[in-house]
């Protein structure tokens, strides 16, 4: 029992954080580090858009499924997916019912499960399996056996979804953030958002013809600049900017599946969004 310290009425274990409130700024600064250990560093996260890809039906989904099946021979892949039109309809009804933000966050993932199950069904001949939270630590079992784990995007904050930073009544955290965070804790090699636009523009190119394409930009510039609409969640930009392992993401047009092959091979396709810790010289994360 010599490692226990009891001199102030509490029983402490000797550790670097003994008696600390864990709130002190000074203490928190001392725990800072630029890089962290990676859990499965050779895997790539493919984030398939709900509205942009899944809602387009077979003409967009089947070529993408064929491309993923082919690319799986050369790359370890996790496929994640958003909810699309049904997620938006969920929000629409949920907001009309005055549900709190934590209630919306709890409910919305249900429709993503439809999309995950569809992709799993289609990819099953090539090793597609559902990948759920409780099996997060079984990832290597799946990858090592040549499978393609397929998961939903919405992070499991559920009722604990924080009050939003963005205006309005929607949760800040959606599938873009959730899939990024999985990749970050895994220490994935790449995160690729597969959408139906060529990348990031100064505004939504499907609504505003007067836009410019942005091939590369920092998360901070995208957050602070005058960009009325973006193909990815704004909270993804904040999350990316603070990350330690995954320091860039790529947004590509999945309606031409050759873009996915090029992105996985590290070619400069679509838009790269990078964090303040991104170092092109290191050659990691694109």
């Amino acid at each position: 029992m010599s490692d226990f310290v009891k001199d102030d009425g509490r029983t402490h274990m000797k550790s670097g954080l003994m008696r600390e409130s864990l709130v002190s700024k000074t203490l928190i600064e001392q725990t800072d580090t630029a890089t962290v250990q990676r859990m499965v560093p050779d895997v790539c996260m493919l984030a398939v858009g709900g509205r942009s890809i899944m809602d387009r039906g077979s003409e967009a989904i089947l070529p993408l499924v064929a491309a993923i099946a082919e690319l799986k021979k050369d790359f370890k892949l996790i496929v994640g997916v958003g909810g699309g039109a049904r997620a938006r309809h969920t929000y629409e009804i949920g907001i009309d019912l005055d549900l709190p933000i934590g209630g919306l966050a709890r409910i919305v993932g249900g429709v993503e499960e439809n999309n995950r199950d569809i992709l799993q069904f289609l990819l099953a001949p090539h090793g597609g399996i559902t990948f759920i939270k409780d099996h997060f630590q079984d990832l290597q079992l799946f990858l090592g056996n040549g499978m393609i784990p397929i998961c939903i995007g919405q992070p499991p904050y559920h009722f604990w979804e924080p009050p939003s930073k963005e205006k309005g009544r929607l949760p800040d955290n959606g599938p873009d953030v959730g899939l990024f965070l999985q990749a970050e804790v895994i220490g994935a090699e790449r995160v690729i958002y597969i959408k139906d636009v060529d990348g990031v523009y100064t505004d939504d190119p499907q609504k505003n013809p007067d836009v410019e394409f942005i091939p590369a930009i920092s998360a901070r510039e995208l957050l602070d600049g005058d960009f009325p609409d973006l193909p990815i969640e704004r909270e993804l930009l904040r999350t990316l900017d603070d990350s330690r392992s995954v320091t860039s993401v790529r947004v590509i047009n999945g309606l031409d599946t050759d873009n996915l092959r090029r992105a996985l091979n590290g070619e400069d396709v679509g838009t790269i969004i990078y964090s303040r810790r991104y170092s092109a010289a290191e050659g990691r994360n694109q």
Binding site: D8, R10, T11, H12, M13, G16, L17, R19, S21, L22, V23, S24, K25, T26, I28, Q30, T31, D32, V36, Q37, M39, R51, R56, G57, A85, R88, H89, E92, I95, L97, D98, L99, P100, I101, K133, F136, P156, Y157, H158, F159, W160, P162, P163, S164, E166, K167, G168, R169, L181, Q182, V185, D196, Q206, P228, D229, P231, I232, E233, D242, R244
Partner: protein, 277 residues
């Protein structure tokens, strides 16, 4: 045969401004208006029992606090008890930091100790209706409360591997104070009460700095702006309060002082109150 509009599957009844929105449109979000929402369980208190401050003191602190809470329960006060982690959580964070593990992994590790503490409290309160509940049980809360049970749960939010890395430092920003606050905010709870071993908030850690001054009442923003190094609650809670819709204040009290919990549950301004504005 599936019908499509603008290349996407379309069915009758789907038309709305939200369907074609990217959800990242600034104007679109602003047009959704201010947050107003129903209160889920407005008569319920959410009460946190500190890990290091209370649980790690053992029975000398825990038993009188439980006695006071059970007496309040007998008077009809309804609450959910949440637990902190404490010393063992600090030890495993320390180990994880030493191994340079990512924040999401630290959050996962930090989740187990508060569950142990919740189970301890359940064993001690079982004969008064104490039950342990997990995040998946939360939609059954009305059932548990209406039967006169005292739901006890870990204060840790279910973020685990999905915990975001902070701008500075690797320790998870959302720990048990944050989880308890967010639970209260979601429920639209009657109040969120933190039972610790200090009178409330001081200008510095009173256990280390004898010159620290007591602060009875302060706004979250003033506290954030003060830049003070140490706080009695997790810093991110102050950010959440500032943006919150329902729970616009929290109260931090000294559970070691008999009668303080009862006074707080009666609405008295004991301890420190931190307000949204």
């Amino acid at each position: 045969m599936s019908r499509k509009r603008q290349g996407k599957i379309w069915i009758e009844g789907m038309d709305s401004p939200m369907i074609n929105a990217t959800l990242s449109g600034k104007q679109f979000r602003e047009e959704l208006g201010e947050r107003t929402s129903v209160s889920i369980l407005p008569d319920i208190w959410v009460i946190k029992i500190g890990g290091q401050s209370i649980m790690d003191r053992g029975k000398s602190a825990v038993l009188p606090i439980l006695k006071e809470l059970i007496a309040a329960h007998g008077r009809g006060v309804r609450f959910i008890l949440c637990t902190g982690g404490g010393t063992r959580a600090r030890q495993v964070y320390s180990l994880g930091l030493d191994l340079n593990l990512p924040t999401g992994m630290l959050a996962r590790l930090g989740g187990t100790v508060p569950v142990q503490n919740a189970r301890m409290l359940q064993l001690l309160t079982a004969r008064h209706g104490g039950i342990v509940i997990y995040p998946d049980d939360f939609d059954k809360l009305p059932f548990f409360l209406n039967t006169g049970c005292i739901p006890i749960t870990s204060g840790m939010p279910p973020n685990e591997f999905w915990e975001k890395t902070a701008a500075v430092g690797m320790i998870p920003s959302n720990r048990t104070d944050a989880g308890v606050y967010l639970l209260g905010e979601f429920l639209g709870a009657k109040g969120v009460l933190y039972i610790k071993d200090e009178e409330g908030l001081y200008t510095d850690d009173p256990k280390k700095n004898p010159d620290a001054e007591f602060i009875p009442d302060i706004t979250a923003q003033a506290l954030l702006d003060s830049g003070q190094d140490d706080l009695v609650v997790e810093r991110i809670v102050l950010e959440y309060i500032s943006r919150a819709e329902k729970v616009r204040k929290i109260q931090i009290i000294n559970g070691l002082k008999a009668g303080t919990i009862s006074a707080a549950l009666e609405g008295e301004s004991v301890g420190t109150i931190i307000r949204a504005a």
